[in-house]
Amino acid sequence: MITLIVNGESRTVNAEESTPLLWILRDHLNLTGTKYGCGMSLCGACTVHVEGRPMRACTLPLSAVAGKSITTIEGIGAEQLTPVQEAWLAHDVAQCGYCQSGQIMAASALLQENNHPNDAEIDAAMSGIVCRCGSYQRVREAIHAAAQTMSPAGRAV
């Protein structure tokens, strides 16, 4: 039995401790917004926040997140969509949509660190998140738009 905090709630799961967090979220806690794409931290579809930092849930064993605070796509805009989610909607970023939880989680983490990333910084932060539909141009546009909403004053120094 391992306890972790998922989207602000304490959850106890009975699973083998090498089980990746991804399958704990999906199959044990029924949080299917976090996606399986590769199982090798190659595509980022499973990106969640662990203690506020973006991590790949598909290679993160349960034992490594005991007692840790996890935020998933279901958690970030539970009350009201975040500016990143709003920007994603307004720019119609999603096509098939499967990778978009990972894209949004990665973009949200980026904007926490850097409130006005340029294209090169966006590419550096987002290149781990694969979209086979090719939504990348709108991902860039939505991140710029969200940055503007979140801190209209401009780039921090």
Binding site: K35, G37, G97, C99, V130, C133, G134, Q137
Partner: protein, 734 residues
């Protein structure tokens, strides 16, 4: 979230596939016309026609018979209904139409979303459904208010009688429709384009909200009570069988429930997917690898090259290309080679099934549910209508989820057969990459010559590869005298078989031959834009070679050769202007161009690349002009163009599946490299203004990008690449 209970024999249920709180819930037992007439006080939902149902609370339900996998079908088709129905957009929700013939594609005659013809196929059908329903509400209001229908207007799901100062919502008029037995009119007038309020205007995705908050339900997200998860051990050689297996170690893992042999190999069932996969990895299996264990891509290239030298089946013979080339002093000749490609959708293949004695229910992201239903019914010996297919959203497909064998659905059904509970089988990424449905490997041999003005005079092309359609149920429609349209579409100057278009070029002597390579080793399958993914490269790169040999500008040459295709000629002139074709890009930079007609729609792209040394290159900008008739949803067209370019660019730069000793060498995203955001060019999309009926745009953009990039690399380096991907030749997309 209520995901519903299993119920036997319920034939009209499916996912609510719209946005909002009901996403993923199941709709149970829909009442249809004739059952509710007596109870006006409690008006029941009413099926107005095949596609539309309305509830007293004004909810309009569109029975959606096309799949959503990023293509935008849910939005574009809803726009058609909303426009003609004068409905409030937010009132419309979607429900998966049942797998029955009234919902089959009017073009395919099957329940299938494919071929970039969704918009064209629905254009009249769904607008008519909307207009019919609107007419019924107007008639109902006229009866209720004792006035003439011509006095009434409609707006935002309401009928309005301005002179009589009355207004009623569609939901409120439902009781009148039922009481007066108002039937759909036999004929209705559709709006003129000048009256459109919704069609032709940018519209955000209908299911968009569910794709930003994690609530969208893909096949892999289906959860049913007591469901088990399955993971399959598959023979590393396609077509191989289990000789013997030992499951002691697998069964010793806590949570593993059982193992069983299915057609695809051995499936391990467990309480969660990770445990099932651990169980699968613990199996000890001896395989009978079968006859494919010696096959390799290298051998296929050799065999195909030899075949390309032999006379093939003659698909087109305009003029006398052979003699003209034979008599030429300086004929040109080249061989172009394209590898197998995997679809590698972000959501790996999966399906969920529950099988009982007399019925079967499946939950799957599929493009092709009539085929899934037919195959499952045969497999289980059930009447076809006892197989219920609940279609989910799809995490990409690019053609993969229109499986002719229903392979991933069959996995789940075989795994669930004999179980009391539903079973979900999920393919790992490795199984998905090695899943043996590929864009077939192709070799094209091309010969040509120029006239004394440097213009193409004769063209002779021989295409060699595995036929996709031969010996399938599509054989009669897609094979012409043994030739597969899906091997040569994009080479032919004239319409051929069921395809009502040829290339846009006119070359006076034009000969196209084809060989069907032996159908062994893997399963050739449609991959976004199908034949154009190889014919497009061969044709457009070799044409570039001819332009160079004849000292012609490659864009001007294409404009001249398109003299009998006014739409393309106009489009190319627009591209010339928008791309500032005649300006200089400076050192280490170059442009390339290609143009194609696919599924009727002309499209052309100009690319700008930069060389960064050591074989590194970037594609900085792509200017794309498309003529897809009336632009139903410009926002979605732009997305489809961006996406098509991304997939095509990825394929030409890095796409490669190798077969060696019967085994696929690639396995995951470290060796089958996907395009990443840093490699994404800036894409400018220009849509030609048109009042023609809409034609496809889902696959069109995938094909010009590959030859355009290869042509730009030639321009920049003088190196003509004729086998793909570019990475084989030391070129790295950055």
């Amino acid at each position: 979230m209520n995901r519903g209970k299993m119920a036997k024999g319920v034939s009209r249920r499916g996912f609510i596939i719209g946005s909002g709180a009901s996403v993923g819930s199941l709709l149970l037992g829909v009442s249809v016309a004739g059952t509710a007439r007596a109870k006006l006080a409690q008006v029941q939902p009413k099926q107005l026609n095949t596609f539309l149902r309305i509830d007293p609370d004004n909810t309009i339900t569109l029975m959606m018979n096309q799949s959503e996998f990023g293509n935008g079908a849910y939005t574009s088709l809803t726009m058609m209904v909303a426009e003609e129905l004068d409905a409030n957009w937010d009132d419309i929700q979607l429900e998966t139409a049942p797998t029955s013939p009234e919902y089959y594609s009017p073009i395919f005659g099957e329940y299938l979303t494919a071929g970039s013809i969704t918009t064209a196929g629905a254009w009249i059908q769904l607008r008519t459904a909307g207009a019919q329903a609107r007419s019924m509400f107007v008639d109902a209001a006229a009866q209720k208010w004792q006035t003439a229908p011509s006095e009434l207007t409609t707006r935002d799901s309401h009928v309005i009688w301005q002179a009589g100062k009355r207004e009623a919502s569609y939901g409120d008029l439902l009781a009148t429709i039922i009481a007066h037995d108002i039937a759909p009119p036999a004929e209705v007038a559709l709006k003129e384009a000048s009256d459109f309020k919704i069609l032709g205007k940018p519209r955000l995705r209908h299911e968009g909200r569910s794709k930003v908050d994690g609530s969208a339900i893909f096949g892999i997200d289906v959860k049913l009570p007591n469901m088990l998860y399955g993971s399959v051990a598959r023979c590393p050689v396609y077509g191989g069988k289990v000789a013997h297996y030992d499951d002691k170690a697998a069964l010793a893992i806590t949570g593993v429930v059982k193992t069983k042999q299915i057609s695809a190999g051995v499936v391990v069932l467990a309480k969660d997917y990770w445990t099932a996969k651990r169980g699968r990895d613990a199996l000890e299996i001896q395989w009978d690898e079968g006859p494919n264990a010696a096959l390799s891509s290298a051998r296929f290239y050799e065999e195909y090259r030899l075949l390309a030298d032999q006379p093939g089946m003659l698909a087109e013979n305009i003029g006398d290309a052979q003699s003209v080339i034979a008599n030429s002093d300086s004929p040109l000749e080249a061989i172009y080679e394209m590898p197998y490609l995997a679809h590698a959708t972000m959501e790996p293949m999966n399906a969920t099934a529950q099988v009982s004695q007399d019925s079967c229910e499946v939950w799957v992201g599929t493009q092709y549910q009539s085929n899934d239903q037919e195959i499952v019914a045969k497999l289980l010996g059930l009447p076809q209508d006892q197989v219920i297919i609940n279609r989910t959203l799809m995490g990409g497909t690019f053609g993969r989820r229109a499986s002719k064998t229903a392979d991933f659905t069959v996995d789940a059904v075989e795994a669930a057969r004999g179980e009391e509970v539903p079973v979900q089988v999920i393919w790992s990424r490795e199984e998905d990459i090695r899943g043996a449905h590929y864009r077939p490997l192709f070799v094209h041999k091309l010969r040509a010559c120029l006239d004394d003005q440097g213009m193409p005079l004769a063209w002779h092309q021989t295409a060699v590869g595995q036929s996709i359609m031969q010996h399938t149920k599509h054989d009669p429609a897609y094979m012409v005298s043994g030739m597969d349209i899906y091997s040569i579409d994009g080479c032919l100057q004239e319409p051929f078989g069921v395809f009502p278009y040829g290339t846009h070029y006119t070359i006076p002597n034009h000969r196209i031959e084809t060989h069907n390579a032996p159908k062994v080793g893997v399963r050739p399958h449609e991959w976004r834009a199908v034949a154009h993914t190889h014919t497009g490269i061969a044709y457009e790169c070799f044409l570039d070679e001819l332009a160079h040999a004849g000292d012609k500008d490659p864009l001007d040459l294409r404009i001249a050769l398109s003299k009998n295709h006014p739409r393309m000629q106009n489009l190319l002139k627009v591209l010339k202007e928008k791309s500032q074709w005649e300006t200089s890009l400076g050192e280490n930079r170059a442009r390339g161009i290609a143009a194609r007609v696919y599924s009727v729609s002309p499209i052309a792209q100009a690319v700008e690349i930069t060389l960064h040394g050591d074989g590194k290159f970037s594609v900085d900008r792509v200017i794309c002009v498309v003529d897809c008739g009336f632009a139903v949803n410009p926002l979605n067209i732009e997305a489809q163009i961006q996406g098509g370019i991304a997939l095509g660019l990825n394929a030409v730069a890095n796409g490669n599946i190798d077969l060696e000793a019967g085994r696929i060498m690639q396995s995951n995203f470290h060796d089958y490299l996907p395009l990443r955001i840093n490699q994404m060019p800036v894409i400018e999309v220009h849509i030609i203004d048109s009042d023609q009926p809409p034609t496809g745009v889902g696959e069109q953009a995938t094909t010009p990008i590959a030859p355009a990039v290869a042509n730009a690399i030639f321009k920049a380096t003088g190196q003509r690449i004729r086998s793909f991907p570019l990475s084989k030749h030391g070129f790295t997309l950055v």
